[in-house]
């Protein structure tokens, strides 16, 4: 299989990486990527789509990863970008959702309602809902800090901003979560 240069494959795809590398990443980061996708898309269906696209994109990309952290950061960012792109396009045409027979291999069931992902623990549902109610910047930051357990420095690196900004986002997001439910609970 060793050959110099890139050649277009029969099905039009260009692969730059060994499949094993990508599959390795898939194994390592499946929950990370899927989690981010789930939190940032509207339903399981879309999350599935994004999940696949990320690794396909990885396969096709030519980025030189310096280390594992770099790779993880790239994967997270790509997942986020693709999620947002999908959500935006979903707004425009809901009928595009989950077309069986499309190139995607998702096991989607078009009868599932949006935000259909449910946890076994209702508190987790609450956390999930709270996250999804946040604007993107805050949502991804909270997700990476609390669900992915990344340190502030790593999150800053992933999202391309300062540690201070990340800390601020965390404070604000928590305040938002606290207050948005608090308001309704206070029955005012």
């Amino acid at each position: 299989m060793a050959a110099q240069g890139l050649e277009t494959a029969q099905n039009g795809l260009t692969a730059n990486r060994r499949d094993t590398e990508v599959v390795d990443a898939l194994e390592r980061y499946r929950k990370t990527v899927y989690g981010v996708a789930l939190t940032h898309t509207n339903n399981r269906c879309d999350a599935d789509d994004v999940f696949q696209e990320v690794f396909v994109a990885y396969l096709r990309s030519s980025v030189d990863f310096a280390d594992e952290e770099h790779r993880k950061a790239w994967l997270i960012r790509t997942t986020l970008n693709l999620s947002l792109k999908l959500v935006t396009s979903s707004w425009r045409s809901r009928t595009e959702l989950c077309e069986p027979g499309a190139p995607a291999l998702s096991v989607c069931d078009p009868s599932l309602p949006p935000s259909d992902f449910a946890f076994s623990d209702p508190r987790a549902d609450e956390v999930f809902a709270a996250l999804r109610a946040l604007p993107t910047d805050y949502r991804i930051t909270m997700h990476l800090f609390y669900l992915e357990d990344l340190p502030v420095s790593a999150i800053a690196n992933v999202l391309g901003t300062t540690e201070g900004a990340i800390k601020t986002r965390l404070s604000r997001a928590r305040a938002m979560v606290r207050d948005s439910v608090h308001e309704t609970a206070c029955n005012e």
Binding site: L13, A15, R30
Partner: protein
């Protein structure tokens, strides 16, 4: 139920969640095969080109090639969903702004949105700045001005007097039946002034320095009164110098206690004297300046010649105690037989006169004929009667040995205590005095503002420093003096003829502000015969006078008028050569019928009630930036229409203004360019802050009330605002209390705030009914911590102390029981005068006759001292 944000702290929950967020295995399998298929299909894939990692590639470069999520513009989350009223009003802004006086100086055309300032409107408002106030040319001029304002003709007798004559006047303190202390609390004082033994020894002049050690281990770190401006002290009922606590007890005594942690105890107490040596019990406030303890108190004095002091005190005047600000002995026809007043004068210290002397004869002769028709031309009352004046006294004590304070000197000035400041060892005292003068006879010292030394009149205010406010009908005096505490000398004095409502002092100037009622022009509505139907808009404006300080003299440098009224001293702030002023303005519309034949105007109640039905007076707020001549150079007007200001705080280049009607916009105002102040952020949250306190880097503490979305005020609330980005101020943390009242809402001195230690403390009243009386009180201390995400710590307010305030014994001086030889007492919680402070390792709460001591680190109680 736990708060949703707290769920994030549950690490196990988070881990389980993440575990569940997993793709379906079938999906993964299918994707895996697809990836293999792609790869094998691309048979010509070069493994080298890209798959290998190159350590030379920087992460940054890789990162930069990926598009980052678009950062949405930061929008403050709407806390109160559906609250369109306040928001709509706010956004519509000054277009609906209606602070208009018909033909007045503010024109709607010049005002756009609250976020812009219109330079063309500046010229209009400039003309509203009054010409600088001019001093009177002479005392005769002053007298003439007063008479003109009163609408009476000046009498010739007023003119002649001399400094010597003034200094020869006698001064006698009068027992008053009700005197207050602190800034607002009222207590009663003894009916007779008895010499206090401590006061006697303090005037004996003995050298009180003893060989005994004067203090426990000296502590260097202690808290000071919570003042508006750093470096300028404000008087308070409790002070400390790190070794001792000095406090006013029951408004009648000064008590000194050692600040010794668990061993705290009283070391001495005394009662300051009045200028004539009588005991004086209306204590107001304290200052500490080095070794000098300054005690301010209220005295009522009789001032006059010896004959005056011997004369009966006319009824209908001064004997009704609490005649604050002087008294007018009334008009002809009101005088009573001399019998009763003579009894009072018999107790006076008149060594020479006896009732048989001739000057006295005319007194009783006039008075003893109540049935005679009163002759308006006859000299009434007797020319001899004392001028009664309410006076504020400043006593200086040497407390280098706290166990034996020594009186150094004593000063007093006419007027009811308004406020004071201490800067660079100079005490600036502001009092309000109502001169007593008669239409029939007047002596110079009836209308002159007097300054007193020990037992005598010292001087009067120089005429070149007496300024009548132009266009005003007010006849009260605002007396300002500067007292050098080191030299024990009064160095300067000044009087404004008007009444000072708000006083603010910055490092360079003292500002005295007076709000006055202003009417616009008549707005013609209709004419019916001789009746002209008009409406008139009126509002309150504020005149501000600037008095430079620190120069060794007091003179008025500039004055101006700004529209609207001030909330309190925090509405003014001097910074970088400019004065920033925040005002609230309410425009009232009144309907009148003007009868053109008689010239009289009467209320048109019909039209008034028609107009009033459902309509509230127009209200708006503004911020002005004034230069040294107090001309307006920058402004924001039409801020939060139909709301009023609840608190203001200026902090260098930034100003924060809280208004409220249903929600609380906290306005952040950029003041870095005095000519172009601009609102950078308006944060809408329920409730409002009544006191704002900058709390370190990018933080602002707010103490206030919580309220529902519809504006229904509930309980108290602490809020910490993040002000690091002036364009995006938000509420970082908040804490709701169950109480509805604390003096902290109205009196900043009752707040203990230490930014370095991250602590805030204040007293509250636990009951929703009476303010402290027979209710329970609590002293609360909170620490505030910003979250440390590196350590995975959340932040917020944490309660460190919530201690019940003990009862204090109050003495009812109006209920002397001769049988028991004592006054009746009662018990109450002195919430308003409770103060919290720290000295060294201990935190002290002084509440009435109690001192509670706690360890500053743990807030465990270490002592409880009861003062007798």
């Amino acid at each position: 139920m736990s708060r949703p944000d707290e769920l994030f702290d549950d690490r196990e929950l988070m881990a389980r969640m993440r575990d569940e967020m997993s793709p379906d295995q079938r999906l993964v399998d299918e994707l895996t095969s697809k990836l293999h298929a792609d790869t094998s299909a691309a048979a010509g894939t070069s493994i080298g080109a890209g798959a290998g990692t190159s350590t030379g590639t920087s992460i940054g470069a890789g990162a930069a090639s990926e598009p980052l999520p678009v950062s949405r513009p930061r929008r403050r989350r709407r806390w109160a969903a559906g609250l369109s009223v306040a928001a709509a009003v706010f956004l519509v802004a000054a277009l609906g702004f209606a602070v208009l006086r018909p033909g007045g100086v503010l024109s709607l055309a010049g005002i756009k949105s609250p976020f812009e300032t219109d330079p063309s409107a500046q010229q209009l408002t400039q003309s509203a700045a009054a010409a600088p106030m001019e001093a009177v040319s002479s005392y005769e001029d002053l007298y003439a001005t007063l008479c003109a304002r009163m609408g009476v003709a000046p009498l010739a007798t007023a003119a002649t007097w001399s400094d010597d004559m003034l200094r020869s006047l006698k001064v006698k303190s009068v027992p008053a039946s009700s005197i207050g202390y602190g800034d607002g609390a009222m207590l009663t004082a003894p009916a007779t002034g008895e010499r206090d033994s401590a006061a006697e020894s303090s005037t004996s002049g003995l050298d009180a320095k003893s060989a005994a050690p004067t203090s426990p281990s000296p502590s260097t770190d202690y808290s000071t009164t919570n003042t508006q401006v750093a470096g300028i002290d404000e008087a308070d009922v409790v002070k400390t110098d790190g070794d001792f606590l000095y406090m006013i007890l029951r408004g009648s005594e000064v008590v000194i206690a050692s600040a010794d942690g668990a061993n705290t105890k009283e070391v001495s107490r005394f009662t300051p004297e009045a200028p004539d040596g009588q005991s004086n019990c209306g204590l107001i406030d304290l200052y500490l300046s080095g070794d000098v303890l300054v005690v301010m108190s209220r005295v009522t004095l009789q001032v006059g010649t010896q004959e005056d002091l011997n004369a009966p005190i006319p009824q209908g005047g001064g004997t009704s105690g609490g005649s604050l600000g002087g008294s007018s002995p009334g008009y002809p026809g009101e005088i009573e037989p001399a019998a009763a007043p003579q009894a009072a004068s018999a107790t006076s210290d008149s060594p020479t006169s006896s009732p048989a002397e001739e000057p006295m004869a005319s007194g009783p002769a006039n008075a003893a004929s109540p049935t005679e028709p009163q002759d308006a031309v006859a000299p009434y009352p007797s020319p001899y009667y004392p001028s009664m004046r309410s006076v504020t006294q400043v006593s200086l004590y040497d407390v280098s040995d706290a166990r034996a304070p020594v009186l150094i000197d004593l000063f007093a000035q006419d007027g009811y205590h308004t406020t004071s400041r201490l800067m660079d060892n100079v005490l600036y005292l502001v009092t309000n005095h109502a001169p007593s003068y008669l239409p029939y006879e007047v002596r110079p010292y009836d209308y002159l503002p007097l300054l007193y030394g020990e037992g005598c009149v010292d001087a009067t205010v120089p005429s070149q420093h007496i300024y009548p406010t132009p266009g005003s009908a007010g006849t009260g005096y605002t007396v300002v003096t500067a007292l050098d505490l080191k030299a024990s000398k009064r160095v300067a004095s000044l009087t404004v003829v008007g009444s000072a409502g708000t006083v603010y002092m910055g490092h360079n100037n003292l500002y005295v502000a007076e709000s006055f009622y202003q009417e616009g022009e008549d707005d013609f509505l209709a004419q019916e015969g001789a009746n002209r139907y008009i409406k008139v808009d009126s509002s309150y404006d504020t005149r501000i006078a600037r008095i430079p300080v620190g120069t060794g003299q007091l003179a008025l440098a500039a004055s101006a008028v700004v529209p609207g009224a001030l909330l309190n001293q925090f509405s003014l702030d001097e910074f970088d050569g400019h004065l920033r002023v925040a005002t609230s303005s309410t425009v009232y519309t009144s309907f009148y019928i003007l009868n053109e034949d008689t010239g009289y105007r009467s209320h048109d109640y019909g039209a008034q009630s028609d107009a009033m039905r459902g309509a509230a007076p127009t209200q708006t707020n503004a911020l002005y930036v004034l230069d040294a001549s107090l001309a307006i150079v920058g402004r924001i007007e039409g801020l939060a229409p139909n709301e009023r200001i609840y608190s203001t705080r200026f902090d260098g280049d930034v100003g924060y203004v809280v208004t409220f009607r249903q929600v609380d916009p906290l306005f952040t105002i950029d003041l870095s360019d005095p000519r172009r102040p601009k609102v950078t952020n308006a944060l809408k949250i329920p409730g409002f802050s009544q006191y704002l306190h900058p709390f370190g880097d990018g933080l602002l503490l707010g103490i206030g009330m919580n309220a529902s979305d519809t504006g229904r005020v509930s309980t108290m609330k602490l809020a910490m605002f993040d002000t690091s980005d002036p364009y995006d101020v938000w509420e970082r943390d908040k804490h709701l209390l169950s109480t509805t009242y604390s003096p902290a809402l109205y009196n900043h001195k009752s707040v203990f705030a230490d930014v370095e230690k991250g602590l805030v403390g204040f007293p509250t009243n636990d009951s929703s009914s009476a303010r402290g009386y027979n209710g329970t009180g609590l002293y609360l201390v909170y620490s505030y911590r910003t979250p440390d995400f590196g350590m995975n710590e959340s932040g917020g307010f944490f309660e460190k102390l919530a201690v019940s305030l003990p009862l204090t014994k109050g003495i009812d001086y109006g209920t002397y029981s001769a049988y028991d030889d004592r006054y009746s007492s009662y018990e109450y919680v002195d919430v308003d005068n409770t103060r919290g402070l720290y000295v060294g390792d201990s935190f002290y709460i002084v509440s009435g006759d109690n001192i509670l001591v706690f360890d500053l680190a743990s807030f465990k109680q270490t002592a409880s001292v009861k003062l007798s």
